[in-house]
């Protein structure tokens, strides 16, 4: 008996040891080390960095570029979930219950569902390079080509600091929407059909069907989507780094926190300072997650 239990313990440990250790070594320990490195002047090569206390954090407060990056993240944090969720909800509604009968999708919804998901399948770097071509400022750009043919002067989607941020936001929404359409569709599928039918019998139109029935019953899913998209907005990196001119330009108009961390670490060789920026970003991200879960807490509807 004792032998058996011993064997069972061994069995469990043998399964857990490897993943837990990998997680500790490659996830938890770098996190902890980042807090330590943030308080040193490490430049990436020396084996003995000097401890400098909170100097890096003090310096960070005067770093205009970093605060510019933070405002971009905050803007994304507000706009990206909002726009994405509105569009995705709209599409999901149309695809599932938007049809004439009110309980089926509009015509061709199965095809649309697949098509909407395409952008999600592409790697972010691929999307970034693709959109560089789409946004090209000369006649070979997919957007500027037709504009120029119409005699309009080309728009510097990525080269005009006034426009570049919106181009980045647009690409992020474009890529994210498909996934959330699928997520919301799944949420809708779990709502019993009779609810919609009952509402329709009571004379609800598409509008009130959406706002009175669909949205409240989907609230849990929307909340999850909000947190996911919020975190996506806070740690956006690849799209900005690959797609925009000068990695977050022109003139810092698209830079984000993660880009500044990368720049300071791998281009300026200021690993200590970059870690301090990373710590700040960590605080923002965790703060956001806690806040959003608190704020969006609502009574659950059971059915």
């Amino acid at each position: 008996m004792i032998f058996n239990r011993y064997r069972r313990g061994l069995f469990i440990i043998s399964f857990l040891a490897a993943p837990v250790m990998l997680y500790l070594v490659y996830v938890i320990s770098p996190y902890l080390q980042a807090f330590y490195i943030a308080m040193t002047d490490w430049r990436g090569v020396t084996a003995t960095p000097t401890f400098i206390g909170l100097d890096n954090f003090v310096r960070l407060f005067g770093d205009e570029t970093f605060w510019k990056a933070v405002t971009h993240n905050v803007l994304l944090l507000v706009l990206l979930p909002l726009i994405t969720i509105v569009i995705a909800l709209f599409f999901a509604f149309l695809l599932n219950v938007g049809g004439a009968q009110g309980v089926t999708g509009i015509r061709g919804s199965k095809i649309y569902r697949v098509v909407f998901f395409f952008p999600q399948v592409l790697a972010v770097a691929v999307v970034a390079v693709l959109f560089q071509q789409v946004f090209r400022p000369d006649g070979s750009g997919m957007l500027n080509g037709p504009l120029m043919a119409l005699g309009v002067s080309p728009i510097g989607f990525l080269s005009d600091p006034q426009v570049a941020f919106w181009s980045v936001l647009g690409v992020m929404v474009w890529q994210a929407v498909g996934f959330y359409v699928v997520l919301f569709s799944a949420g809708l599928a779990s709502i019993p059909r009779d609810m919609f039918e009952a509402a329709q019998i009571d004379g609800a139109g598409r509008m009130s069907l959406f706002f009175r029935v669909t949205l409240p019953l989907l609230w849990d899913t929307v909340q999850v989507a909000w947190v996911y998209l919020g975190i996506l907005a806070l740690d956006v990196f690849a799209i900005v780094w690959v797609m925009t001119d000068q990695h977050g330009g022109p003139d810092w108009s698209t830079t984000v926190m993660a880009a500044e961390i990368y720049r300071n670490a791998f281009q300026y060789s200021r690993f200590g300072y970059a870690s301090a920026l990373g710590v700040v970003m960590f605080v923002f991200t965790v703060g956001f997650a806690i806040l959003s879960l608190r704020l969006s807490r609502r009574e659950r509807i059971e059915y």
Partner: protein, 471 residues
């Protein structure tokens, strides 16, 4: 059935998990303590044939940045030459496009390779390496006899600017191998066909731009709009031409008001005018390859670049294109430096790691690279001049190399350079961002220079950034 697990928590912790975790943690992100010194083997005696004391059979590891020049020059030219003298030294050749990502961990781990071509967009910060004494002092190499002639020191076979620029903390430790010559590049064929003349003064330059613009055949001027560092280059060279070399020395030394000096104002105003009137449409959104390819297609007449251009564009250049370059024209009539003044800058920077197992062989490898044969073959292969004096003489050079080589002979001692962009990364990025805004007309020349001055002052007052000086 009791639920007390038979293995106690203590046992578990003491067991398999903790020991390897602790070991692995120490080796992860934070730097490891350097391993005990391994250079216990006695140094090899130096001789006339082996002036740097290369051990006959210790391996040599070489890392080449696989960029515009590729890596064939290393495996096809430099390494065979080295091997011819040291057949028993095994050369471990490697190449990468990401020098920092691949090699920075090797430095942090205490086992760097011997020879590194620390180039490309992601090169390792020289200042950081120097600060941690990772760079081998190459003075011994300078004082060694050259590969070709035992009576000439290596020091006398290369340009003085290489030694100035490669010196960190008083020690020559970075060897720029290629001599980049900056100027305004054009197609000799296009200029001949249209009877356009090389402008000698800025007024002639503007008049030429006007002529080209009116001809409707092509746009007068462009630059790599996505990378405005291509444009601050002629701007700074022009300022140095107007106000003398000290303009650039002051900027490098972060002197008060260096950016807002009068010559800088004149130069910024001049280029802002080009930006407003003569740029090819869409310039600000195009990169260097796109603008250079537009030039190859005769859609634009001139662009600022360096002597790597011809090699970079070899696949899109028409056979009769005939690259040529001219220096910054006279601006004020009372410029401090004469016509023909050039900005040259050694590039493709090679270093030897001080803490590598075999630094002597690393230095010997550089000595082989600096032989006339190696340098001349290199120039022919990659169509770019090296810092080795006279290595390209009597060889079959391409039109661009020929033109640059002529320009450098005519410039004589009137060559200038700057280093702030390599010394202070944040200042470079500000320069890139602000220059783009200047050329797009969103920043006035005065505001542009004020902004640069502000950033320079910020860096000057930041105690965490190591400062450099030059004269």
């Amino acid at each position: 059935m009791p639920h007390t697990p038979h293995i106690s928590r203590r046992e578990l912790l003491r067991g398999a998990a903790l020991v390897p975790v602790a070991g692995a943690l120490a080796a992860c992100a934070t730097p490891a303590a350097p391993p005990a010194a391994t250079s216990s083997s006695a140094p090899v005696a130096t001789s006339a044939a082996n002036p740097l004391g290369v051990p006959a059979d210790k391996p040599l590891e070489v890392w080449i940045f696989d960029g515009g020049f590729g890596q064939d020059y290393a495996t096809g030219i430099h390494q065979p030459l080295f091997k011819s003298k040291y057949p028993n030294v095994e050369i471990k050749h490697n190449s990468t496009k990401e020098i920092t990502k691949v090699l920075q961990p090797r430095f942090a781990g205490g086992n760097p390779p011997e020879v590194i071509d620390n180039s490309g967009a992601n090169f390792m910060d020289f200042g950081a390496l120097a600060q941690d004494s990772q760079l081998q002092d190459l003075t011994a190499l300078l004082d060694a006899p050259s590969w070709d002639d035992p009576n000439t020191k290596v020091r006398d076979t290369i340009d003085q600017s290489v030694i100035d620029i490669g010196t960190y903390d008083g020690k020559f430790s970075v060897l720029g191998y290629v001599n980049y010559i900056h100027g305004i590049w054009y197609s000799q064929k296009a200029f001949r066909d249209n009877q356009w003349q090389i402008p000698k003064t800025w007024d002639e330059f503007l008049a030429l731009c006007e002529t080209i613009k009116k001809s409707g055949k092509m746009a007068p001027f462009t630059y790599a709009g996505k990378f405005p560092q291509y444009l601050y280059e002629p701007l700074l060279t022009m300022a140095a031409k107007i106000g003398g070399n000290e303009v650039l020395v002051n900027i490098d030394n972060l002197e008060d008001g260096a950016w807002t000096a009068e010559p800088m104002k004149t130069a910024a105003t001049a280029w802002a005018e080009v930006g407003a009137k003569y740029l090819m449409q869409g310039t600000t959104g195009l990169d260097h390859i796109q603008t250079q390819t537009a030039q190859n297609k005769y859609r634009v007449a001139m662009l600022p670049s360096g002597s790597w251009l011809e090699n970079e564009q070899k696949s899109t250049t028409p056979a009769d294109f005939e690259y040529g370059m001219f220096p910054i024209p006279d601006v004020t009539g009372s410029d401090k430096l004469p016509y023909g003044t050039l900005h040259t800058q050694p590039g493709e920077n090679f270093i030897v790691s001080a803490k590598s197992p075999n630094p002597q062989a690393g230095m010997e490898y550089l000595r082989a690279m600096l032989s006339k044969k190696a340098a001349g073959d290199f120039s022919e292969l990659v169509r770019t001049l090296t810092v080795v004096k006279g290595a390209s003489e009597g060889r079959k050079n391409s039109p661009g190399v020929e033109s640059a080589s002529k320009a450098i002979t005519e410039a004589g001692a009137n060559v200038v350079y700057y280093r702030w962009n390599n010394w202070y990364g944040p200042l470079k990025d500000e320069g890139v961002a602000a220059t783009g805004e200047l050329m797009a007309g969103r920043l006035s020349p005065d505001k542009y220079l004020e902004r640069m001055q502000k950033k320079a002052d910020e860096i000057k007052n930041d105690s965490s950034i190591k400062k450099y000086q030059r004269s």
